[in-house]
Symmetry: C2
Subunit: 204 residues, 2 copies
């Protein structure tokens, strides 16, 4: 495919997407140019528009096109609870449960020293400032009384939760963590041993 | 992620890429906006540029930015041989072998009735015209004497090769097919039975 330089550039640009190698990038470029040029132009427009308009919510750090996102502005939310998640997708998962009515703080990542992701890269400072100075937030919201750590149950997620829990000690907030245990609908035989051990320790 | 409409549009646009579901699209959008906005803009430019400039070679139907691609214009190529492949990636694989010095015809697809891909969709007519009227091509190239069918050895690729072979009967060209057999470097124990059976029949 050395013929078309713009095709080669497109393949290189597609390779910057996570999880896309050279074969996938070639297949994508081929598909767009052969079958869906309209899709290619639509994607170009969406990229330009998102890159220009999407910013971080001043309160919860999630992606939004406004200064403060809809969730943070929603007056029906319980402002005493703050659920800390890694990504907007995790927030969406929490929302779909319908079991949580408090506010969120979206880290936009997790601590991962091996990938050079430190506390400054994931909005930890913004989280601590939020908890320390709640009265100064633009909406004058009441104080956060409980921080629910809902980072993933991976090595990095657990580390992130631990670091946040340590930092929040003595700041006058209750810090809780999502319960570990056997997933609903699963059979013990197929659940990993670490999960069963945790479920046994945390039995109620 | 209902907060940012332009983010939602970006996810939808990314889902038009082949092999990208909603989770992958969200991960891609998240990565671009959080870590690589420059990459997002570069991809947008590459998409625009490729969609505007990439066309089909008038002779071999592959992607090119010119009327006729470099391979077709190369005077060192053997113009009596025409290798028919499905995609530019297949052509690149043939080229990498260094074992072929003839010309190519790139179908840009394969016959696939289940996907509504018929003869008109993959440039078959252009191939037949090329073989029937070689003297009228812009470069006045000499006649094609051998057509080498190098479509993939899948059900659709075999069907495509069969249809081309049938259509070329009586047009005064030799039609050959890449040999089927045991891949170089492989152990018989791990080769599928159909391949071994073909290798046995075509033994030399």
């Amino acid at each position: 495919m050395a013929e078309a330089h713009s095709l080669e550039h497109l393949v290189q640009a597609l390779r910057r997407l996570p999880g896309v190698g050279v074969k996938s990038a070639q297949r994508m470029a081929f598909h767009l140019l052969q079958h869906d040029r309209e899709g290619a132009l639509a994607l170009a427009r969406a990229l330009d528009h998102a890159a220009a308009t999407v910013q971080h919510c001043a309160l919860c750090h999630t992606f939004t096109e406004d200064t403060i996102c809809h969730t943070c502005l929603d007056p029906r939310r319980d402002r005493s609870q703050l659920c800390v998640v890694e990504t907007p997708a995790d927030q969406a998962a929490m929302e779909r449960t319908g079991a949580y009515k408090g506010l969120f703080f979206v880290l936009m990542g997790k601590l991962s020293p091996l990938d050079n992701v430190g506390p400054k890269d994931i909005g930890l400072q913004k989280l601590f400032e939020r908890i320390d100075a709640p009265a100064q937030t633009p909406t004058g919201m009441s104080e956060v009384r409980e921080v629910i750590l809902a980072t993933n149950f991976t090595a990095e997620g657990e580390t992130t939760a631990h670091v946040i829990a340590q930092a929040l000690k003595g700041r006058g907030v209750v810090v809780t963590r999502l319960a570990r245990g056997v997933p609903v609908g699963s059979e013990l035989e197929y659940v990993d041993l670490g999960t069963i051990a945790h479920a046994l320790v945390d039995r109620r």
